[in-house]
């Protein structure tokens, strides 16, 4: 799975791209721009570990954007705003700093990350983390109405239990006790 690791004294990141988009938000002043700067800086090479070719979308490179067809596109909020309508047409991964509601792209809860500062180090964590509810102990099966993403989300949550998740789709399902 594509990944990106940054290990600098001021910023730590360890992300696997399970989805096309990683969207980073967070308070002002916690280091989101620093992350983009580190990825832009050729001298940061030793601090960055990834199997993706990195493209930084900014004022200087915006004219090259149409030629990027693979790899990872990194953008701050200014250029994410400007180009977000065309993200869905790209066959690339995206690391975007944005607080805006990006209505034109489909992304999952796994895409949302929050930047935060711990002492003097910028770190990143998933914004939404599902926890297993106690009630899951009482069921053998969970039927999800949605056979798409809703089904996958529930399946992931109960992955290490014996619960079987069944997508209903448009079918009628009979369960034997």
């Amino acid at each position: 799975m594509p990944y990106l690791k940054i290990n600098s004294s001021r910023l730590k990141m360890d992300i696997e791209f399970k989805d096309k988009y990683i969207i980073i938000e967070g308070d002002s002043g916690v280091g989101k721009t620093l992350m983009v700067e580190l990825l832009s800086d050729e001298e940061s090479g030793k601090l960055i570990e990834t199997d993706l070719k990195i493209h930084i979308l900014n004022k200087v490179t915006q004219n090259d954007y149409t030629n990027w067809d693979e790899g990872l596109i990194v953008s701050d909020e200014v250029y994410a705003r400007k180009f977000c309508d065309s993200f869905k047409d790209k066959n690339c991964y995206f690391l975007i700093v944005s607080r805006k509601l990006l209505k034109n792209i489909n992304f999952s809860y796994r895409s949302l990350y929050k930047a935060y500062r711990e002492y003097d180090v910028t770190k990143f964590k998933r914004k939404i983390i599902f926890t297993k509810e106690k009630m899951f102990n009482y069921f053998d099966y969970i039927i999800t109405e949605d056979s798409g993403y809703g089904y996958l989300v529930i399946k992931e949550i109960v992955a290490d239990t014996s619960i079987e998740v069944i997508p209903a789709g448009e079918k009628v399902i009979y369960l034997k006790r």
């Binding site: 308070d27 002002s28 002043g29 916690v30 909020e77 200014v78 944005s98 805006k100 509601l101």
Partner: protein
């Protein structure tokens, strides 16, 4: 007063037209231009220093230099966060339609406080009232569409404010 138009109600360009102010698309560049070209010594302004300390946890040891109070690292003043830059542009009532996207949740209360004495025109495009920080927010804004003043955290809870905004179709 803080005047707000909402993303679910109007498009960005429409909001700019209704406010009669262009969208602040590049807050960093506008800030940098003002400091560089207009040779403003904003670091000496008390309000800027307060914002910088609160949001970026930094102070101003000398002209155009900021210092991280946690690490002691120093940088030039253009390295302050976009949130600080945009709040300062709000302080000087820069003639723009501000986007809520430019403000981190830790800027919201300061934004409301600034708007007690100055007019700020903002397009809400980032669900700011649903963020955790909104729960402790205290202030008011004017719904620019209806010209009604809506209180947040004063005489009403954030849930009641959200209910009111949802009823208007803003969320």
């Amino acid at each position: 007063m803080l005047y707000i138009l909402f993303m679910n109600d109007v498009e960005e360009n429409e909001a700019a037209a209704l406010f009669g102010k262009p969208i602040l698309e590049f807050p960093d560049s506008v800030f940098d231009y003002m400091v560089k070209e207009e040779r403003k010594d904003i670091g000496s302004e008390k309000e800027f220093q307060d914002i910088l300390l609160e949001i970026d946890k930094a102070d101003v040891p000398m002209k155009n230099v900021i210092r991280d109070t946690l690490t002691g690292d120093t940088h030039d003043i253009y390295k302050v966060s976009t949130g600080v830059k945009t709040l300062w542009l709000a302080c000087i009532e820069a003639d723009y339609t501000f986007l809520s996207e430019w403000f981190g949740p830790n800027c919201y209360q300061r934004l409301f406080d600034i708007s007690k004495t100055r007019n700020i025109y903002m397009y809400e495009d980032s669900n700011m009232f649903y963020k955790d920080a909104a729960e402790s927010l205290k202030g008011e804004f004017t719904d620019f569409r209806t010209k009604q003043v809506i209180k947040v955290g004063i005489e009403s809870t954030i849930e009641e404010t959200l209910e009111c905004l949802e009823e208007r179709g803003y969320y």
